[in-house]
Assembly symmetry: C2
Homo-oligomer: 124 residues x 2
DNA sequence: AAGCGTTATTCCCGTAAAGATATAACGATG
DNA sequence: CATCGTTATATCTTTACGGGAATAACGCTT
């Protein structure tokens, strides 16, 4: 009798997981992290506050924004220094479109993972 | 007019990428790395040589093997110390079944990524 | 009994990634 | 023109991870 996954796992608590991103020039640049950051920037109007809400250092947040802007045709985040409230940031229309696209992509990916997980569960 | 991905990317050299693994008890344990390692162990009969062929340290290879064995119902790699050639390792029938399953899973995942990439290309 | 190549395990070190800190520039407001 | 909170950037520290060396055990061969 041929071995199957039935004979392999200890319990039934296994699942297929994964991560997804968009790559350009060999480097990741769109992924769950950036998307979430952009959404926080949109709601707070500030890279600084967005970073704080996510428990992320400002430096890292800024690096993400910088990479996002430099790898896109038009800026995803438009920033302003000085001014009434000391400055601030907002996300572009293109960024909103990208967020929307990424959510849909992620949804399809989650369906893929769930389907694979349940077919794995059947085998166990 | 609503913005689309057409307006976002610099060039057309973007692609959807990702990684996939099987998780148990919250920790990854099956993935491309372990699979490749097992295949090398199978062909060389030695954890040591397998690690060398993959440019990986013996320590890391051993850690992978150890985690693989401890998280599975039955051992994936059966090892022997001492003996004619100083010892050696071979992979179990269950390991072969798991390799086969993982290859198929990976194939389906690659198809998913390619489909998403080409539909992304259409938008750019 | 000595030699061999492997498994098994521990310990130290170098590097790379991330975090924390510091500081300058900015521009509206009062 | 001083104040304020933010962006922008450099620098230093800390942490995490993997590599490499070192060592022991093992069991067949000679």
């Amino acid at each position: 009798m041929k071995k199957s996954t039935k004979d392999i796992f200890k319990k039934g608590s296994y699942s297929v997981k994964g991560s997804l991103w968009i790559e350009g020039d060999g480097t990741r640049f769109w992924g769950p992290g950036p998307v979430e950051l952009l959404e926080h920037i949109e709601s707070t109007g500030s890279i600084n506050q967005a970073a704080k809400e996510m428990g992320m250092s400002y430096k890292k947040a800024w690096e993400i924004v910088s990479r996002l802007n430099s790898m896109s045709k038009e800026p995803m985040v438009v920033t302003a220094t000085g001014g009434e409230k000391g400055g601030g940031s907002s996300i572009s229309v293109a960024a909103k479109a990208m967020i929307e696209y990424h959510h849909q992509l992620r949804e399809r990916f989650l369906q893929f993972l769930e389907a694979e997980t349940s077919s794995l569960q059947e085998m166990i």
